[in-house]
């Protein structure tokens, strides 16, 4: 700590240069934090996917439907605990731009399968006893100002009713909360029996995909193969895979978000590293004489190395720390797309990566100038 004042004084030597370098570092870490939140939003669900859940879909594509009868057949397969079907409804609320996910499900089976959707007992009861009942995630309910007890009309773009009407009326009986960070609370679930009875004949008895809970996560490959084998050579062959892999594949439909984000951040960091490294190199070169004096009065070679590295660390830590904090504040202020992004937060893991990156950047930017200072020969430097 006693050297901190000396290090700080050196940083204040060229205030403008220090400020500009810090600003560059700040922007890099702000971008890092913000992009981490966006990447998390695009891969929402992957991190909270249960290892003991599989997704079973039509082998050809997700938009091909599967018979509802598969549920009972799958539950007979060894290693399968339970299965629950979901179907993409694809409707909107009031205006076409108000798109969000709606799915018909069997309430009791669904809530057992997804304990991360947290509903009060009263709301659960109400859903089980109301045929037109639906539940909405907290975020989507807040977005549209829905309250429990509201009538929510959803206009279908795929599933028109058997009578030809496009509008489905639901009674909002509950608003679920996300049980863990990363859980999607922008969805809307309603009852499968109401859906199946009201839709046209061509779609009756069909579901979009199944979520299957298995007894032993380590046997997921084996059970997946058994499920696919069960429906092999049928009219609707299946493709079973772990929930995490399914969600990753879904996210990859719009590109490898992780790779894109990593590439952007990587390029930004490389540039900033050059800026910080340049600042440190200048700082040492213009202070050759002073560094020699420090050694002359008794600072060791490694002590001088530590001082220069400390300066690099302080420069990066202040810029990076403010950048990460700003990113966190901006992300906490909310999703900038007004609900398009399912979740929007910086995972704790990425904040830790950010802190590690600060340390790495400080070391890489400072180590060469620091070694130059360490190797400085006092008599030679004092003669300059």
């Amino acid at each position: 700590m006693k050297y901190l004042a000396l290090i700080l004084s050196n940083l204040k030597r060229h205030k403008l240069r220090t400020a500009l370098t810090m600003l560059s570092i700040l922007v890099a870490f702000l971008l890092f934090g913000y992009l981490a939140a966006i990447r998390t939003a695009f891969t929402a669900g992957i991190d909270v996917a249960d290892l003991d859940r599989l997704i079973v879909r039509h082998k050809v594509s997700l938009i091909q439907l599967l018979p509802a009868s598969y549920e009972a057949r799958m539950e007979q397969i060894e290693g399968v605990d339970s299965a629950v079907g979901q179907t993409w409804f694809g409707g909107y609320y009031q205006e076409q731009r108000n798109q969000f996910a709606q799915m018909p499900v069997k309430p009791d089976e669904f809530l057992d399968m997804f304990p991360e959707y947290v509903l009060s007992d009263d709301e659960k009861e109400a859903w089980l006893s109301t045929r037109t009942g639906a539940i909405a995630g907290r975020q989507i309910a807040e977005r549209f100002g829905w309250q429990v007890g509201d009538k929510v009309p959803i206009t279908a773009s795929i599933w028109t009713k058997a009578d030809g009407s496009q509008v489905w009326d639901f009674d909002l009986v509950g608003i679920y909360d996300a049980g863990e960070k990363g859980t999607d609370d922008t969805q809307f679930f309603f009852r499968y029996d109401y859906f199946d009875e009201s839709r046209p004949d061509w779609g009756k008895g069909l579901v979009g995909w199944y979520t299957v809970r298995i007894d032993d996560p380590e046997r997921s490959a084996e059970v997946s193969a058994a499920i696919d084998a069960e429906f092999a050579n049928s009219q609707a062959e299946t493709k079973a895979e772990p929930e995490g892999a399914f969600l990753q594949g879904f996210a990859n439909q719009i590109g490898d978000i992780g790779f894109i984000m990593t590439s952007i951040v990587g390029m930004v960091f490389f540039t900033i590293l050059l800026v910080a490294g340049n600042t440190m190199a200048y700082a040492v070169r213009e202070r050759t004489n002073e560094l020699a004096v420090l050694k002359a009065v008794g600072f060791t070679d490694s002590g001088v190395l530590g001082l220069v590295l400390g300066e690099s660390f302080l420069l990066t830590a202040i810029g990076g720390g403010i950048g990460l904090t700003l990113a966190w504040l901006m992300v906490s202020a909310g999703d900038p797309t007004n609900g398009f992004l399912v979740t929007f937060f910086i995972p704790g893991r990425d904040m830790v990566y950010g802190v590690i990156l600060i340390a790495v950047m400080a070391f890489v930017a400072g180590i060469l100038p620091a070694m130059q200072a360490q190797r400085l020969r006092i008599a030679d430097a004092l003669r300059r």
Partner: protein, 236 residues
């Protein structure tokens, strides 16, 4: 009579048969050759000689800022030329006070903080460091300027801060490389008064490199260095 015997007087500093060779590209420059010198404790020695004669090089060897190409350098019984870099740094911190021609103060630190700099290497508490730096500044007559940055001080004042920094650790030996070389006569005289007082009143052993006969006259002994050899008289 050998040269060593001629120059001997005690033994705080013993320089024995020292050579110093610098390499400039493929050329070797012999700055000091077979040099012997003894300096007793409490002496104020002036070292004179033409530019390039090796005065500063000799000062650097005695102060452990450089190493001889051959020969030995002893200060207070310690073989300075044998110490590792780390031990040498610690030894300098404890035993050597350096005063430079161009002061070499840290421009980003106040006078007080500049003087405290060598104390950072000790285990002294912050308040103790502050107290000792204040005493050193008082000795050089600059207590009232302790919060000033070097750029706001005159040359003479900056050199006083430099002297305060050199004496704050109470070193065994004070090495001054042309301490008045960048000062006008009046300021130079004040600095020489100060060095003389440190020598007479506090018994500090001082080696001062200078070109100035007037400055050398303040010393208790003057030696001349020319072509790598010491003598008691200038070769005119």
């Amino acid at each position: 009579m050998s040269e060593t015997e001629t120059l001997a007087g005690g033994g705080l500093v013993r320089v024995n048969n020292v050579d110093k060779v610098f390499k400039r590209g493929s050329e070797e420059v012999h700055v000091l050759g077979g040099l012997n010198l003894e300096i007793p404790e409490g002496e104020f020695l002036a070292l004179m000689g033409p530019s390039g004669s090796g005065k500063s090089t000799l000062l650097n060897l005695i102060g452990g800022l450089d190493r001889p190409s051959q020969g030995t350098v002893e200060v207070g019984g310690e073989r300075v030329d044998k110490l590792s870099n780390r031990k040498l740094a610690a030894w300098r911190a404890r035993h050597i006070g350096l005063v430079f021609q161009f002061y070499n103060l840290m421009p980003v630190l106040t006078a007080q903080k500049n003087v405290e700099l060598p104390l950072l290497l000790t285990h002294l508490s912050r308040s103790e460091r502050k107290k000792r730096a204040a005493i050193a500044l008082e000795i050089v007559g600059l207590s009232h300027r302790n919060g000033h940055y070097p750029r706001t001080l005159s040359g003479g004042e900056q050199q006083r801060v430099g002297i305060a920094r050199a004496i704050v650790t109470d070193p065994t030996l004070l090495l001054c490389d042309e301490p008045t070389g960048d000062l006008d006569r009046k300021s130079g005289d004040e600095i020489l008064d100060l060095l003389q007082a440190l020598n007479r009143e506090q018994g500090k052993t001082i080696i001062m490199v200078t070109h100035d006969l007037h400055a050398a006259a303040r010393a208790t002994r003057t030696l001349y260095l020319d072509k790598g050899q010491l003598s008691t008289e200038a070769n005119v």
